[in-house]
């Protein structure tokens, strides 16, 4: 590895250096532009077409009242939520794949998503018509944390090993899924309908006050904080023995990273539902674009996640127009061919 390939950002005060690959800078730049273009496109296209120039004007509050309302009240929150949810799911997957060291890991596999779904289903089952539906995100976050707590306790035996974590996670997520299913079957019909939408994952009908305002502060704190932990993830990836001998506090770091991952995935699922594929595949795409160092992996994964969800949501709104299909249906339809192309292009290694 050659030092000139890296851009070093070092703070003289805090002892942090983000080991950011120069190629990662370039890739993130391109992805950032793509993300912005897609956001504008996603705001522009819909039942009422708004020209992109007007969209940009409306963002700064300079458009005519009609378009201003469409952009500001209806489409902008949706695009922002798509970016936030996609980015945090991808980041959660990247962290999880780092600590568990298994390419098949994602927030769905270890039960975080199932826990959040169960929280939401249970909430609808118990509190229908009694408590405002606005509390549902809270219920699903609690579900995600409860399941992770259970997972951590069950996997603990003089420390948690990645293998125990993922195997017990699979078991728990299968059990929780069965529980959700039993609830759905024994509950009223409207419950089934609402739960199924939640389990596919959709971001329609989001609003500034409820969704953007709850999600944005969380993600704005969590994502940069996760990025600062890059060094810890990089060391975890090497395996327990090397990590310990390099002086890392493996168990403490692992718990911290697990909590970060759950917070990211849980809040994303609480707002967007159980959107699949992004948490699993966005980190792999990023790895193929920039290499495995977490400092560059995280921002690129997050951007890719945002782009996939934006594109999936745009497709879900327009392809079967006027029907509005849950975006979770299309994440893989958009992401998988791209990933297969990457597999093909990088078939001889990087």
């Amino acid at each position: 590895m050659n030092n000139t390939k890296f851009a070093w950002f070092r703070s003289p005060r805090f002892r942090y250096a983000w080991l950011l690959h120069k190629r990662a800078l370039r890739v993130s730049g391109i992805l950032l532009v793509m993300c912005a273009v897609l956001m504008v496109a996603s705001i522009a296209i819909g039942s009422q077409y708004v020209p992109p120039a007007t969209v940009v004007k409306a963002v700064f509050g300079q458009a005519d009242p009609m378009n201003q309302v469409i952009v500001e009240k209806l489409r902008m929150p949706r695009a922002i939520v798509a970016v936030l949810v996609g980015a945090s799911l991808a980041a959660a997957g990247a962290v999880l794949q780092g600590i568990i060291r298994n390419p098949l890991t994602s927030p769905d596999v270890v039960g975080v998503t199932e826990g959040a779904s169960f929280g939401a289903v249970l909430f609808v089952y118990v509190f229908t018509n009694q408590v405002s539906i606005h509390w549902m995100p809270l219920a699903s976050i609690l579900g995600a944390f409860a399941v992770t707590g259970l997972l951590y306790v069950l996997a603990w035996k003089k420390g948690v090993s990645p293998l125990r974590l993922v195997l017990i996670g699979i078991g728990i997520s299968a059990a929780i899924k069965s529980l959700s299913y039993m609830l759905i079957v024994s509950g009223p019909l409207q419950l089934a309908d609402r739960s199924l939408t939640f389990m596919t994952g959709s971001i329609y009908g989001v609003s500034w006050e409820r969704d953007v305002a709850t999600l944005l502060p969380w993600i704005a704190v969590l994502l940069p904080f996760t990025w600062l932990q890059a060094r810890k993830v990089n060391i975890q990836v090497l395996g327990d023995d090397i990590a310990v001998s390099a002086g890392a506090r493996v168990q403490r770091d692992r718990l911290l990273l697990l909590l970060l991952s759950v917070s990211l995935a849980g809040s994303a699922v609480a707002i967007g539902g159980a959107i699949s594929f992004i948490g699993l595949m966005a980190p792999h795409m990023a790895r193929r674009l920039t290499g495995p160092s977490f400092g560059s992996l995280l921002p690129v994964s997050a951007l890719l996640g945002a782009i996939i969800l934006l594109a999936a949501d745009l497709m879900a709104r327009t392809v079967f127009f006027p029907r509005d299909i849950p975006a979770g249906v299309f994440t893989a339809a958009i992401g998988a061919p791209f990933f297969m192309y990457l597999l093909y292009r990088k078939r001889n290694g990087t």
Binding site: L167, I168, V185, M281, F320, A332
Partner: protein, 326 residues
């Protein structure tokens, strides 16, 4: 010890199959069960046994056995402890082809759809296999895992999209989307039996080479093994086994992951023992889960996947905590 355990498991499996034939919404004494097989008289109970109970028990046993063996093989060729038969995209491919056939080509009838499912499973598996083995270094565990996972996600998402675009299709194919062993015909099982049998035979013959491959590609190659050939044959076995079982019972998850781990805990790392044990215990778990699914919410039935999780998870978590060999 190991042969004895295998015989004991087989006895347990036979007992479970007998129980599965005898117990249900109507309980039928075992003597009547025997009569219906030996001297069929066309009576009500005999009819229930011959057309419903026996096919159901046999399908559960075959599907369970196939899925567990396919899971054990998958975990070796991907060198990933959480790989399952569905990781190769076989289930998602089968379901997608079924949706396509019922919705657009107006194919109907369980018999025809069994073939469609088999073709879908094979096509999807073959494509994953191709995608996983291109490139200079041949088929590597990571490549095949990722190719399979993305293919599975892709087909799954297309399936959902197709279903949402056409509401009434959903009802017709629902029976395929949740794995189930009920309401199937013995002729369906007969149609896929040759494939399942071939897959099982290939897998069992590969037990020795799989032991070598499990030590890692470099060691296997330095011992003179043609790793690409072994992986290819093993993947073919998985496609046959998992394709056959998804064609007759739909996508049943979880058995393919947990049974191999349980078996490895019981008999160690020798695949000449692991694979037969997997076959017997996988069959046992699915037959038992199917039996259980009739009693949890009597007279309604819960999907067999739910019961599998209820029966399997506590034991699995206990084992994972105790000591898991991989």
């Amino acid at each position: 010890m190991k042969p004895f355990g295998l015989v004991a498991s087989i006895v347990a499996l036979v007992a479970a199959i007998a129980a599965s034939i005898a117990f249900g919404v109507t309980n039928i004494p075992l003597s009547v069960v025997w009569d219906s097989l030996a001297h069929f008289n066309g009576g009500n109970e005999h009819l229930v046994i011959r057309t419903t109970r026996v096919p159901r028990a046999l399908i559960a046993a075959s599907a369970g056995a196939c899925l567990a063996v396919a899971g054990a093989v998958m975990q070796v060729i991907t060198r990933n402890p959480i790989a399952a038969p569905s990781t190769l995209g076989v289930n998602a491919g089968a379901v997608f082809f079924i949706i396509l056939a019922t919705g657009w080509l107006n194919v109907s009838g369980l018999q025809a759809l069994t073939w469609v499912a088999l073709i879908g499973a094979a096509a999807s598996g073959a494509f994953v296999f191709f995608l996983g083995s291109i490139g200079r270094d041949g088929m590597t565990p990571v490549k095949i895992t990722l190719a399979g996972a993305s293919m599975a996600a892709f087909f799954y998402s297309l399936t959902q999209g197709l279903m949402l675009s056409d509401g009434k299709m959903f009802d017709q194919v629902l029976v395929w989307l949740v794995g189930s062993v009920a309401g199937r015909d013995l002729s369906q099982l007969a149609a896929v039996w040759p494939y399942m049998g071939c897959g099982m035979l290939i897998a069992l013959l590969l037990a020795g080479p799989l032991n070598v491959l499990a030590m890692g590609d470099e060691i296997a190659r330095s011992l003179g093994q043609n790793t690409n050939l072994v992986r290819t044959l093993a993947a073919a076995a998985v496609i046959l086994l998992a394709g056959g079982s998804v064609a007759v019972a739909g996508p049943i998850a979880f058995i393919g992951i947990i049974i191999p781990h349980i078996v490895r805990f019981l008999v160690g790392n020798d695949h000449r023992w692991i694979l037969p044990y997997c076959a017997v215990l996988g069959a046992l778990l699915l037959v038992a889960a199917d039996l259980g699914s009739r009693f949890i919410a009597m007279p309604r039935e819960v999907p067999v996947g739910v019961t599998t999780a209820i029966l399997g998870v506590p034991f699995f978590v206990y084992l994972a905590r105790k000591e898991l060999r991989t």
